[in-house]
Symmetry: C2
Subunit: 196 residues, 2 copies
């Protein structure tokens, strides 16, 4: 049985294919008629479900979607669900990162705690659904480091680590990441619901 990944973000697709290995996963590119889903939710869960439901309905197949972002404590958990459009335009990673760095430039280093969060959702064409969450706590550095990952990876150092998530090998990051944790928690649910 095919499962559709409800994202056009190449970085996410690569990550999710590694984590959900064993499933026959196809991307949204096979369903050009499914338009962009507006992320009007105010929580990661809401947005992940909005996307998963829209794609399951549009494709007639089980659909998996995530919504994830960076939650900075001194910004009351923002950028949060606005992470991908923090600078105002959706998906401009470098503008988003530059804005966040400018915003926190006066914040003392010991107050720069933050975490990545991810909600991973499965929706079936029947309307049934599940959603789980994963987090990766750490702190921010104000000089980006590393070329791996995407988004805010170059500035988050996970608790117990010296490196940013952009300085880790992909498999190493998957093992601890918010998205890895959420999708590993979702995997058995996918197996159960999709095969039943």
């Amino acid at each position: 049985m095919k499962i559709v990944l409800a994202t056009r973000n190449a970085g996410k697709i690569a990550e999710l294919r590694r984590i959900l290995a064993g499933f026959d996963i196809v991307g949204l590119e096979e369903f050009p008629s499914i338009g962009e889903v507006a992320e009007t939710g105010v929580t990661f869960e809401e947005n992940a479900l909005l996307k998963a439901h829209a794609v399951a309905q549009g494709s007639g197949l089980p659909a998996v979607a995530d919504d994830s972002g960076l939650c900075v404590d001194v910004l009351n958990g923002m950028p949060g669900v606005f992470s991908a459009r923090w600078a105002g335009r959706h998906g401009d990673d470098s503008a988003n990162l530059a804005l966040l760095l400018a915003q926190i430039s006066d914040v003392p280093a010991d107050k720069l705690t933050a975490h990545f969060a991810c909600a991973a959702a499965l929706a079936l064409p029947s309307g049934d659904y599940r959603v789980v969450e994963g987090v990766l706590p750490g702190h921010l550095v104000t000089t980006p480091r590393g070329s791996g990952g995407f988004g805010y990876d170059p500035i988050l150092v996970p608790d117990g680590e010296q490196r940013t998530t952009a300085e880790m090998a992909p498999e190493e990051k998957d093992a601890i990441s918010h998205r890895g944790r959420a999708f590993r928690a979702l995997a058995p649910i996918v197996r159960e619901l999709v095969s039943s």
Copy 2:
């Protein structure tokens, strides 16, 4: 007795002079040796006190300072203490407003609740201090209206109003504003502490 207003923001100085009429108020321009105070606090109260204490120590006079901003519910209360540097550079009102409008462009109108908040602080050269808060609840419009005020005034419509705070006469805005409320609450405290 002179009181120093710890701000170089012309809009704020004009507002505070109207609200604290009757006091012999001088601006920071009379104390060129007092440098910029870094707003490293994570609450309006912390930042107002940081500024008031620094100016009271630097001038040897009672000092009044405020920190205020716009708290947007879908942004978890942000821009908050980052209101004046939301787009990354301190005091660029038009960039801050443009960024916020871009960030909320996908948010349904009924979720655009927000409030202005202000902490007003008095600090004496002795180190004694007081701080009070005022708020102005309302909702945001996504097309700026009005030429009065400053900052985010063109997009906040107070509860019970049809106009933005930038469409009100200055005295009308003072009567209901977060800053008016905070400074009117502070005024009797200033009278008592400064004259004693």
